[in-house]
Amino acid sequence: MTQGPDAPRGAAPAARPPRPSLLASPWPRLALVAAAFAAWYFVFPSALSLGITLMLLAGWATAWDLLGGWTGQASLGHAAFVGLGAYTVGVTAANFDLAPWWAALLAMAAAALLALLWGRLTFGLRGAYFVLSTIAIAEILRLVAINERRLTGGAVGLFIFDLQEPFGLDLFSRHVEFWFSLGYLLLVLVVVALVTRGRLGYQMRAVREDEASAQAAGINPVAVKSWAFVLSAALTALGGCLYGVFLSALQPQPLFELHLSVRIALVAIIGGRGTLFGPLVGAALITLAAELFRTTFAQANLLIYGLLIVLVVLFMPRGIMGELERRVVRRRYAKSARG
């Protein structure tokens, strides 16, 4: 998987290379995203739940992309972190009356630790070991959630019905949840924008393109992958906390399931791996399509996801934003070559 600008043949060497869109400032577009969702709140007050699920999915996918896209280590177990976040809020609220913001910190720390150990275990090995282990670990967590009935309520589930209120805000109100979700999405986008434009971001891309060369350039691939994984896991778990409060009824089946992991990965792949706004675009497309064709999706959502994965990988491996970015870069190269 080689992404990034590839120069067309025949470009004059003297021409000043244009700034790749990768480096174009993301902040105006970020403000646009914030404004668009804020407008959603006032224009579609009856579709707040849809907006929340969209923003959370977009946030998870953007966090997934930090590892799966920018670092090139596709994970099919990110549902583990979503479930970890949701269950941490639920379990600590029910058993210890812990405030949800402390629970969120705890969940992020737990996710980061899990990712660190997990990375230690698999990032040192070449081949498909990492992606295989992601499924295994999500599955183990699901079995724990089903079997540890005293803590998690088993297969029946766990209900969150009482939470401490930050600044007197009722966390079960869809209005409050909407703004929290928007804040979460923006936080993830800002973190990913900062990380990918910084030193770690370049190292991540170097590891993705060619691990041996990256190592020759003095980069420690295991450390870089581990950092990307830790960040990705903690951010996903934070979104999982919000999702837990949003659902208020936690069950192992939808939370830890492979399908959720697949959906997170899929929207990032459709939108464009290794692009800042790709996962958001993918999440928006999938969520809105699912809403429009709800009756079809209810029966055949996996069929549609499956076909989409096959088609996108076969015919548009860069995803929507990746394809757009390449066109823009090519046009700029062509222009600068003409002088």
Binding site: S133, P221, G306
Partner: protein, 293 residues
């Protein structure tokens, strides 16, 4: 549960189920070894085999062990077609595209099964298969015995094919060095299609012999894929004999864990074993060395 008899009972049950896991895992391992493709749709092909056996049984009254003769060639053909149409286009692209495509295929298959057959579990009732045979104080269900026998025949056949025929030599050559194989005149795309077909035939055959043993649910494919991964990693990715050992081991670990520890975690023991192997011996219990970064 104490004493030798229950232990032997668990051991034999685990080995018999493990034989089926081995059958599933061998196909996955063979495909990986030759094509470097991890087939995420493997478990869904097992489910296809199960449902094919059920349909043939319900519609035509065909004994599932007879329908093996239909399921295995059908799996071979479907596998060849899938390989030619989809996977062959991606095999030379580095990265995870084949993994994602097979994952997508698996989702499509399991959803189609759900749309056709519904979510309720289905099974085959064979009066003779539900009987048990007593052997030195150990109860052996007939269905499991037959499954063990069929597995033994199929795996022996595969082993003979790989080691005793010219075609098997070509397959092994492709696995060892694709370019080298091409240089000596082996049509490696054909070998790839063939290997994928054989893998799918084994998966569907495993599904057929599982049909009288277990309930078929459209979504169960993912758990078989997972078991196949565990089997191959236990035995070493890409090693066919390793997958046999890994399968038997997984069956025994599951049976022992379920009866001596906690049955709720039955599916987790294999995964724990998988993580342990990754931690201690990533080349697999029977494998050679693995590349480290």
């Amino acid at each position: 549960m104490e004493g030798l008899a229950p232990f032997l009972q668990n051991l034999s049950g685990g080995l018999l189920i493990g034989g089926i896991y081995a059958l599933i895992g061998v196909g996955l391992s063979l495909i990986f070894g030759v094509m470097r493709v991890i087939n995420f749709a493997h478990g869904e092909f097992v489910m296809l085999g199960m449902y094919l056996a059920i349909v043939l049984f319900v519609q035509l009254g065909l004994d599932p062990y007879v329908s093996l003769l239909i399921a295995a060639p059908a799996g071979f053909l479907v596998g060849m077609v899938v390989q030619r149409l989809v996977i062959a286009r991606l095999v030379d692209i580095p990265g995870d595209s084949t993994l994602l495509v097979t994952l997508g295929l698996g989702l499509v298959i399991s959803n189609v099964l759900f749309l056709v057959f519904g979510a309720e579990p289905k099974s085959i009732y064979l009066p003779y298969a539900t009987r048990t045979v007593m052997l030195g104080g150990i109860r052996l269900p007939v269905a499991q015995l037959i499954a063990g026998g069929v597995t033994l025949v199929l795996i022996t056949g595969l082993w003979l094919l790989l080691t005793r025929t010219e075609l098997g030599r070509a397959v092994r050559a492709t696995a060892q060095n694709r370019l080298g194989a091409e240089l000596v005149g082996i049509d490696t795309p054909r070998i790839h299609a063939l290997v994928f077909g054989v893998g799918m035939a084994l998966a569907m055959a495993a599904g057929v012999i599982l049909a009288p043993l277990l309930f078929a649910i459209p979504t169960a494919g993912a758990s078989y894929t997972l078991k196949a991964f565990v089997v191959t990693v236990l035995g070493g990715l890409g090693s066919v004999p390793g997958a046999i050992g890994g399968g038997l081991l997984l069956g025994v670990v599951e049976f022992m864990g379920a009866s001596y520890l906690s049955s709720g975690y039955r599916d987790a023991y294999g995964l724990f074993a998988f993580l342990l192997v990754l931690l201690l011996r990533p080349e697999g219990l029977f494998g050679r060395t693995v590349k480290r970064v």
